[in-house]
């Protein structure tokens, strides 16, 4: 376990680029965030925002080259990016586990489910076949697969999508991970199954006392499970902070517009006009400026604005909150901290005073 004053995972200035035929593509551009033991941090963003690349850069599962990762990723005080591959392998899948969006593709269809779990187990633990089997059955049982022992020898195609995702979670748990990175684990599933999986992850987090880094584009899911949020856009962090603060008082225009896509927030529909910028050639200034209704000249020059703390533990990267900016342009001041987010009147929008 980590000491109290040190986060489980600390990501600083993480930058991931890919060399392609059309030049260098910057997928993640200098992002910071951290995850504490036992908490759930959600990375939210549209597809193409770099959220998946960011999580995959943490344990370097990105192919390098063409990928190139810079910055610092401190896990329990050790810088993962400077570790040799052999040591990283010990951490990957063991202390830091991954689950992915599509369980169908993440499984090998030639082997039984039990075999795959025991294999994952035996890579990291020197255990006998019997012990491995017992542990695998136990894990399958814990992730809610009924009759784990009889399903042990079934093949992946004999499992439904939700059950496969449960098996993937069981495989992720073999090393008693301290950090679980879940990349859109419920996006491919039905809502009812999604609810089951979210509940399972919640239970397991308590049971294993894990930090969870959860990637999703669905703010509904975020609200259900997150303790803190990192809002990403075009490779940059727009805003981060406590889930309640961000849902009650989203500071960045992008966060506000994301929330407005939800009908519960009085969304009128229409989404966010425009598309993500070309990652080969990102715009100057704030990445969101071309789509932002509050964008001013200052937003379109220089670098992405420095992060400003607008509330305790809530950072936002927006010109209007920085020196010389006027937050009231962006922010509706009408919200009190206790305002329910689902109320019809809690519409987040431009200030009218």
């Amino acid at each position: 376990m980590t000491s109290d004053d040190q986060p489980l995972l600390e990501v600083e200035d993480l930058t991931t680029t890919f060399s392609t035929d059309d030049g260098t593509l910057t997928a993640v551009d200098g992002i910071d965030f951290d995850v504490e033991t036992g908490e759930t941090v959600c990375i939210v963003g549209e597809s193409g925002s770099g959220k998946t690349v960011a999580t995959e850069s943490i344990t370097k599962i990105i192919k390098t080259p063409p990928g190139h990762i810079e910055g610092t990723v401190r896990y329990k005080g050790r810088d993962l990016l400077s570790l040799p591959e052999s040591e990283l392998r010990q951490i990957r899948g063991n202390e830091i586990a991954h689950i992915f969006q599509n369980p169908q593709e993440a499984m090998n269809h030639c082997y039984t489910v039990g075999w795959q779990i025991t294999e994952a187990l035996q890579i990291h633990r020197d255990v006998s076949d019997e012990e491995a089997r017992a542990k695998a059955v136990d894990l399958m049982d814990r992730v809610g697969i009924a009759n784990a022992s009889s399903r042990f020898d079934d093949y992946p195609h004999e499992f439904s999508g939700g059950q496969k995702q449960r098996v993937m979670i069981a495989m992720a748990l073999v090393g008693d991970p301290d950090l679980l990175i879940a990349d859109e684990p419920t996006t491919a599933l039905d809502v009812t199954v999604q609810a089951q999986i979210l509940r399972l992850l919640d239970d397991l987090q308590d049971e294993f006392d894990m930090g969870v880094l959860f990637v999703t584009h669905d703010l509904g899911v975020v609200a259900e499970i997150a303790d803190r949020i990192v809002v990403m856009y075009a490779g940059k962090v727009m805003e981060r902070g406590d889930v309640l603060d961000i849902f009650d008082r989203p500071a960045h225009p992008y966060t506000q517009q994301l929330l407005e896509c939800l009908p519960e927030f009085g969304g009128t529909g229409g989404g966010i006009p425009g598309t993500l910028p070309d990652p080969h050639d990102p715009p100057d200034g704030c990445r969101f400026a071309p789509r932002c209704e509050y964008a001013e000249e200052a937003c379109r020059t220089g670098e992405q604005p420095e992060e400003v703390e607008v509330a305790p533990d809530q950072q936002v990267s927006c010109v209007h909150y920085g020196p010389g900016g006027n937050p009231s342009i962006v922010r509706s001041e009408g919200h009190g901290p206790g305002d329910g987010a689902t109320g019809g009147d809690s519409e987040v929008g431009p200030a009218d005073d």
């Binding site: 999604q194 089951q196 509904g220 529909g269």
Partner: protein, 444 residues
Amino acid sequence: MTEPLLSVRDLKKHYPIRKGLFNRQVGAARAVDGISFDIEQGETLGLVGESGCGKSTAANSVIHLEEPTAGEVIFNGNGREGATRNTDGTHPNDVTKFDDGELMEFRRGAQMIFQDPSSSFDPRMPIGNAVGELLKVHGMSDRHRRRAIVEDLLERVGLSANDFDRYPHEFSGGQKQRIALARALVLNPDLIIADEPVSALDVSIQAEILSLIDDLQEEFGLSLLFISHDMSVIRQICDRVAVMYLGEIVEIGPVEEIFTNPQHPYTEALLSSIPTPDPRAELGGIELRGTVPSPTNPPSGCRFHTRCHKVIQPEGVDIDQGDWRGLLNFREKVITGEIDIEQVRENVAGGGTEPTDSEVRAEVRREFDISETVDDPDLEETLSEAMNLLLEDNAEMAGEFLSEEITTPCAETEPGTTVHAPDHESACLRHESRAAAEPNPADD
């Protein structure tokens, strides 16, 4: 006009299951098993349910992509309004009985949008040709005229006329769905069936596409059959909703009614599984366990009874609903032989000493969420008797015993439909018994 644009009556689609050397039919997967609904001019009907409930099959059967096994699909668009039934009971507008020429005409009246933007366009065909293909198929041989129409339409769905010559891989998912809309619109249909058109898209793009659909619907007076598993999407776009479970419609009604006053337990469960964007709300509500049973051998009686949290207790029994659900699950597992008492023993032992029988019993109760003692002495006795049999390794006897002793009306009687309010119907035994008791059901 009182006549609905589309009216589906008792539609069935069964897939034969064949086995053996001579391909003998040994059974059928009843993907769609007798559904009925109407769609009015300009109305949007949502069809919602988990994957495997048959909603996509229903759509394919309505649009005649697949030949339905039985039932009628009466389409009153294309200037065929006001037809009356023939003397032999058939309807002149029944799509299932259309000849080739009429079917061709029906294609101009009803079109479809698919779920997966990446596979809904031929990767080797410029999207302009893909949209114009429909015009060509329907006899418009003037290439310039086709191009003009498609370019105009591309602009109307928010793209540019220059996109005509571009290929699908040059577009994002949201743009492809816009093109799919253009393709569905190009023949100027009265009805569009949208099969999960936004579930592969990001939330922000979903909102864009939904509002585009909404605008186009208003502009052209389209009717929409909107299929989705996502209740929150349904709420944004639909006027009425039909909730499907295992090939049947369990509840149908106006969208606000369904959301505020759901009658069928399955609808309730679906609604409570939508993640609410309120960080203060607890994860919770009704947990729907397991998955949709196989349509080859659907549960008897009400098809939802195997997963229902409100499953009815028989006359004279009144125990905790959770215990009752647990008992039924236990019974089910014992009958199907899925419970492995040895495994339970191992689990309890955890490599240590041999567990006592009472520890095993407690473990079984824990697994099925049954409390230490069930409120009803008879049932309690049945349960311990069954567990005795199981502990003696006599699973078969235990199964027979349980199937006799524990029964629920839900497994025996097929529910009829109950009308709760104008236009709001559901099929649940709980309402039927109440309706029988009080002939004038109040819906609050």
